[in-house]
């Protein structure tokens, strides 16, 4: 058969299967990310799809997927929200960072993956999935709840932390010396600050530069700008993803809103390819040996996220059930954990087991997170009811 025809059939089959998986995910009300990963593992295991003809395409697509994921993360919050969030919730943010980075980093050290491995796995366990959390909050009708701003401000802090973490990670993975690494950190901190200031003062100009009433022109402007900025950032060793993220922050107001709408289908497609390619590159046989570790890490970091949320909500004056809801909503890990693991795997300086562990871990957390968020409430009220009845009983008795 003509190689082009074969490639098209391969690609079509993969994308069609992704559609089926996404529909299944929607039907049972879960995030499609774990299903995409499993899909990737399955395609790889059965050697159903070798992606030979489209290796280049799949690779580039998954890179674009990461860029779009980060661009839309940047679009999600305005610069003002980021700065206010940083000011109001940095204590909770720092606690979140410490409590959730350390378990991953510790396990990596324990398994002998070195400091680089520790840095990667720490990032994987640290970052909550803002996509899953936002969906859970909306689906469960909790947007008007009093703990919701607490959850969102922690997610905002993680957002900003990513802007510093990703460049550092990229520099570390590239194996640069300590001094060069420090320089990169310096540059990225400076860039983050400059972008925030520019976005606060001149955000409308950046928006104007890409905005257009014509949706076709707008899409091309936006995508072109994102790829350009990502490429330039990559050339400066800051990480392509961070470049796109910064562009997202700089675009503000109505432009950001329409940009989100226009980019969503593209993001969905390319991000899905990214997850599948990540799954494809993971050898399914490497997962069972690390499954126990993944489970342990899952339990541990579910507890630490719960503790983070509990503490932050308590500080905000939220009652007991709300504190549990806050913690449970933050448990889900997803797209950004895979982005971090993907960057590490692509660099080739971390062992294959790390990718397997990260895959298993995200599979567990992306499924368990929303379930925890849903069922924490009835559980807590069940625990509370006996004491309430007791209290009523005493009053009656008296």
């Amino acid at each position: 058969m003509d190689p082009l025809a074969l490639t098209l059939i391969d690609l079509g089959a993969v994308v069609f299967c992704l559609g089926l998986l996404a529909r299944l995910a929607g039907r049972i009300g879960m995030s499609p990310i774990p299903l995409y990963l499993v899909g990737g593992l399955f395609f790889g295991a059965g050697s159903l799809v070798k992606l030979e003809g489209m290796h280049e395409f799949a690779h580039l697509s998954s890179e674009i997927g990461v860029i779009l994921l980060l661009l839309m993360l940047g679009l999600e919050y305005t610069a003002k929200e980021l700065v206010t969030g940083l000011r109001q919730s940095w204590q909770a943010g720092v606690l979140d960072l410490v409590l959730n980075f350390l378990p991953g980093a510790g396990l990596a050290l324990l398994l002998g993956w070195g400091l680089i491995g520790a840095m990667v796995l720490g990032g994987v366990t640290y970052i909550s999935s803002s996509g899953i959390a936002a969906k859970v909050i909306t689906d469960l009708g909790r947007i008007g709840n009093r703990e919701t701003p607490v959850i969102l401000s922690i997610l905002v802090f993680e957002d900003l932390a990513m802007a510093v973490y990703l460049p550092v990670l990229t520099a570390t993975l590239a194996g640069v010396s300590f001094v060069v690494g420090l320089q990169t950190v310096g540059i990225s901190l400076a860039v983050v600050t400059v972008v925030l200031v520019v976005a606060l003062r001149h955000g409308h100009r950046v928006s104007q530069a890409v905005h257009s009433e014509n949706s076709e022109v707008f899409l091309l402007n936006l995508l072109g700008a994102a790829l350009l900025v990502a490429g330039l950032a990559s050339a400066m060793q800051i990480s392509a993803a961070v470049g796109a993220f910064m562009l997202g922050i700089a675009i503000s107001g109505a432009t950001a809103h329409s940009a989100t709408q226009i980019l969503e289908p593209l993001r969905d497609l390319f991000a899905a390819i990214f997850f599948v390619v990540f799954g494809l590159n993971t050898d399914p046989a490497s997962i069972p040996p690390v499954l126990a570790w993944a489970l342990l890490l899952a339990v541990l970091t579910a507890a630490t996220k719960m503790a983070t949320g509990f503490w932050a909500a308590k500080r905000a004056g939220i009652g007991l059930p709300g504190r549990f809801r806050t913690g449970a909503t933050l448990i889900a890990r997803g797209e950004f954990s895979i982005v971090i693991a993907g960057l590490a795997v692509a660099s080739g300086v971390v062992p294959q087991e790390l990718a397997a562990l990260a895959t298993a871990y995200v599979l567990i957390m992306a499924i368990a997170g929303p379930l925890a968020a849903r069922f924490v409430e009835p559980l807590v009220s069940m625990l509370r009811r006996p004491s309430k009845q007791q209290a009523v009983g005493t009053i009656r008795g008296a």
Partner: protein, 160 residues
């Protein structure tokens, strides 16, 4: 009344207050412009019993209903010393003959002795409306008069 305003990063704003009954009542305003009415549960003021998306029309209607009641309550309070004087609200139904007609055409004061002291429309109050004000479907008329006068005003507004 203390209304709390809270930013919801990435979503919009929440504005709410604690009612005397212990429930939190308010609205969530999304960045995209939609609005949701929220009411908290009775046992946990942090969580919501209901979040009801409202269209602009629905929000304005709800506003009329609540605002009209508020105005009527204040007027009744003011007229309490005058025996025989009552405040009542009339809404202009879809079948009212006075839709899009000047209020003066109904000759309410002449025919029933009732005064229309205000019109509530889309959350706004039109105080002391003149005879030239056009009535619209959905308007809430706040009227002051005797019981019998108000009964006949209601019939005038309904049947012409």
């Amino acid at each position: 009344m203390n209304v709390d305003e809270t930013d919801l990063p990435g979503l919009g704003r929440r504005k709410d207050f604690m009612a005397a009954s212990g429930r939190r009542i308010g609205v969530v305003e999304y960045r995209e412009g939609q609005i949701e009415l929220i009411v908290s549960t009775w046992d946990d003021p942090d969580t919501c019993e209901a979040s009801i998306p409202l269209s602009a029309d629905e929000a304005a209607t709800l506003c009329n209903l609540l605002g009209g009641q508020h105005l009527a309550m204040q007027l009744s309070e003011a007229h309490r010393e005058v025996p025989g004087i009552v405040t009542r609200q009339f809404s202009i139904g879809a079948d009212s003959p006075f839709d899009n007609q000047p209020m003066g055409k109904a000759c309410i004061r002449t025919r029933s002795g009732v005064s229309i002291v205000a019109i509530m429309r889309e959350g706004e109050v039109l105080p002391s409306p003149g005879p030239d004000v056009l009535l619209h479907v959905g308007d809430l008329l706040v009227a002051v008069g005797t019981q019998e006068g108000l009964d006949s005003a209601a019939s005038i507004l309904r049947n012409g």
